[in-house]
């Protein structure tokens, strides 16, 4: 503790404006890194899938294109974020006391949006992977579209389940926070 205090004293006063700007920089950097890593992983997966489908590799490990370390890092980061989101108590959705239909509706909207994003992203990265590995002549964009729709539906369903679970957990967390704040 003394060492930390000495370090802080050496660094000078902590200015709230500088801290706010630094936080903003970290936030932007985090999103660039997180989204970039996600797209990188996803692209790596579909690139290996295209390689496998068109017989471009003989390796039995063709589907392990993406470094397992990066994969673990990626999931660990999002696990931490999920935990922090849970602890936050779900701000931004203020209809907790409303009927459960509204919660289901919000989850459905979120799932539809996620499904659409995943579908478009899947079709796009597979299209790029085909273009990179096969060239324009041998490309089959209809395959990409069909796979995109399939993956979008799958992702939409999974996201719906995750959002429902998250909603339920966050509701409990919020109730606990309210109970702790109760001053009657």
């Amino acid at each position: 503790m003394r060492f930390t205090k000495s370090l802080r004293a050496f660094g000078g006063p902590v200015d709230e404006r500088v801290r706010a700007e630094t936080d903003r920089i970290y936030k932007v950097g985090f999103w660039i890194l997180a989204v970039g890593l996600m797209v990188y992983q996803y692209y790596g997966y579909w690139k290996s899938q295209v390689e496998w489908v068109y017989g471009l590799v003989d390796s039995a490990h063709a589907h392990e294109y993406v470094d397992p370390f990066v994969r673990v890092l990626f999931f660990a980061a999002f696990l931490v974020i999920a935990f922090l989101l849970y602890r936050r108590g779900l701000t931004g959705i203020d209809d907790f006391d409303g009927p459960s239909e509204s919660s289901t509706g919000a989850c459905l909207n979120g799932a539809a949006l996620a499904g659409l994003a995943v579908g478009v992203l899947t079709a796009a990265v597979r299209f790029v992977a085909q273009c990179q590995l096969l060239g324009f002549d041998r490309m089959r964009p209809l395959d990409d579209a069909v796979i995109g729709v399939f993956m979008g539906l799958q992702a939409g369903f999974l996201v719906f389940l995750v959002l429902l679970a998250y909603h339920h957990l966050a509701k409990r967390r919020l109730a606990k926070l309210e109970k702790d704040l109760d001053d009657d």
Partner: protein, 73 residues
């Protein structure tokens, strides 16, 4: 908390209070634990400080929040 003059965007009341107290921006910044740039930006209306910093500034200048930061409608 609104800390600026509606006409100019500057917090002239804080600047006047600081000059009356005989402090430079750097001296006030050292007292309240901020940087000179932050104090300058508050006076220029370029930064909206937290309540904690507003209170520190008020204590340092011997003023109230109403004196330095309150604006009517």
């Amino acid at each position: 908390m609104a800390a600026t003059s509606a006409a100019t965007g500057k917090n002239l009341r804080m600047k006047v209070a600081r000059v009356e107290a005989g402090l430079s921006q750097a001296e006030l910044a050292a007292i309240v634990g901020a940087t000179r740039q932050t104090v300058g930006l508050i006076e220029a209306g370029g930064y909206n400080p937290t309540l904690k910093l507003c209170l520190s500034i008020c204590h340092a200048l011997g003023k109230t929040l109403d004196d330095l930061f309150w604006e009517e409608g």
